[in-house]
Amino acid sequence: MHIHSRKDWELPDSAATPEKHFRNRRAFLKSLGMGIAGAAFAGRVSAATRGFPTTRNPNFNDTSLRLTPEDFVTSYNNFYEFGTDKAEPKIYANQGWETEPWSIEITGLARNRTRIDVNDLIDRVGGIEQRVYRHRCVEAWSMVVPWDGFALRKLVELADPTEDARYVRFVTFNDPDSAIGQARGNLPYPYVEGLRLDEATNELAFIATGVYGKPMPNQNGAPLRLVVPWKYGFKGIKSIVQVDFVATQPRNTWQIMASNEYGFYANVNPNVAHPRWSQASERIIGEGSFFNPGRKPTLMFNGYESQVASLYEGLDLRRNY
């Protein structure tokens, strides 16, 4: 069988940016930025504005879940590139760090290795939608978040991995001049995460370009981040610049830091404790008070067992944490 492998410069018609987007709002604002009136706004325009407003996908909208207030979602952040304190990313990620323009690179064992602008990518994958997902941090707290974005599977299809590709490796930006945590060197940067290819093409795996119907705030990982709701939050790598298709299991950043505490899979599992704390229950952010624990039992695979359990048949989850 003849397989036509596309050259880097051979873009399909769908890749061409429609004219209406060509002269989009941001270009207009940017030109304003040159003038006096726009100067104050120019730095505040965030990337990946394409596709809004979104509509919620009814297949990913468990109405029994109560959304975590937006203020908490955008103010209580683990984004160590901008400091290890929960309050720091909101401050330090908004002091001149540029997320526009932003492009990602598709590399490795893929037929369509290319560099693509995030807004163009959103057009290529057919726009964005909203999904309501549970979010469980490895620190035993949880949120319910309405993410805007597209299925990771669409990005994988666009990249067209070869038969040798078995894992996807994601890499974050590396810019110590803009990111105080990277300058402090609190983790080995750039941050790296990975998924098995069959995990990446699971219907739940999601690339978010926004939250609460708005473009992704910098502190939540602008302009695009991974969301894998059946795994602990640290798997959700933020501000992705590279999607690399590889044959062997990549080492993710937290595994490099402390392999006895954090593994490659990081599936939410109430039965396997972290060496320093239990994972059996979780604190619900925004609920509970000093005398009301606001806790609930943690669910296997964070409540997504029916969608993902088949991925791990025969795998010892106690050893592959």
Partner: protein
């Protein structure tokens, strides 16, 4: 001892009316982000915020009180060092009280005593509780009466455990976050340095005396 003509800063440092409110305000600091500023990153999980702050306060006070006596020995002529040594009991007992509040907050946060069953299986929690156990013994024997009943030597020997407590507290604090928190170094670093200076001085004295 009570010299009324001491310089003003030293007189301030000597007074309980200055030190006690300082300790209380330090512990009450979460009121500012939680109730005055209403900072959403603190309000997202207020008990956790308070829990961490109470533990932090206990660590700072424990490290502070252990600096007092080496300061007095290293700087014998200093009025400030003497003034600080008047507050050893106050600051030490305060560290214990914040430790108790921290532990109580932990129980509230985790939803009751049931959590102790899993706590005893993790070194991180066991170390924290061992620290508190030592501080409890020291606070219980902090009165003048206890010193008289135990005898000075025994009392002194028991209260050397404060250094063990500091080591355990530093360890517990270092384990409390996903990454090693640098605050452990600046909280407990000065104690370690002052103790090292004291030991070094004692050794070099012994040498020159021989």
């Amino acid at each position: 001892m009570a010299n009324a003509d001491a310089p003003f800063p030293v007189r301030v440092l000597r007074s309980k009316a200055f030190v006690l409110p300082l300790i209380v305000v330090f512990g009450l600091w979460p009121v500012w982000p939680l109730f005055v500023r209403q900072d959403p990153s603190a309000l997202a999980d207020p008990p956790k915020f308070v829990l961490l702050h109470l533990g932090f306060t206990a660590c700072v006070l424990l490290a502070t009180v252990l600096c007092f006596s080496p300061l007095r020995i290293l700087f014998p002529g200093s009025g400030a060092a003497l003034a600080l040594n008047r507050h050893r009991r106050l600051v030490g007992v305060s560290a214990f009280i914040y430790g108790v509040l921290h532990f109580t907050m932990h129980l509230l946060y985790e939803g009751g005593f049931g959590v102790l069953a899993t706590d005893i299986t993790t070194p991180f929690m066991v170390i924290g509780m061992a620290t508190l156990a030592i501080l409890t013994a020291l606070a219980a024997t902090s009165s003048n009466l206890a010193i008289r009943l135990m005898g000075g030597r025994n009392w002194k020997r028991l209260h050397r455990l404060a250094y063990v407590a500091a080591g355990l507290a530093a360890w517990h604090q270092a384990e409390a976050r996903k990454l090693f928190p640098m605050q452990v170094v600046w909280i407990f670093g000065p104690v370690a340095l002052l103790q090292a200076a004291r030991v070094w001085r004692n050794l070099s004295r012994r040498k020159s005396g021989a």
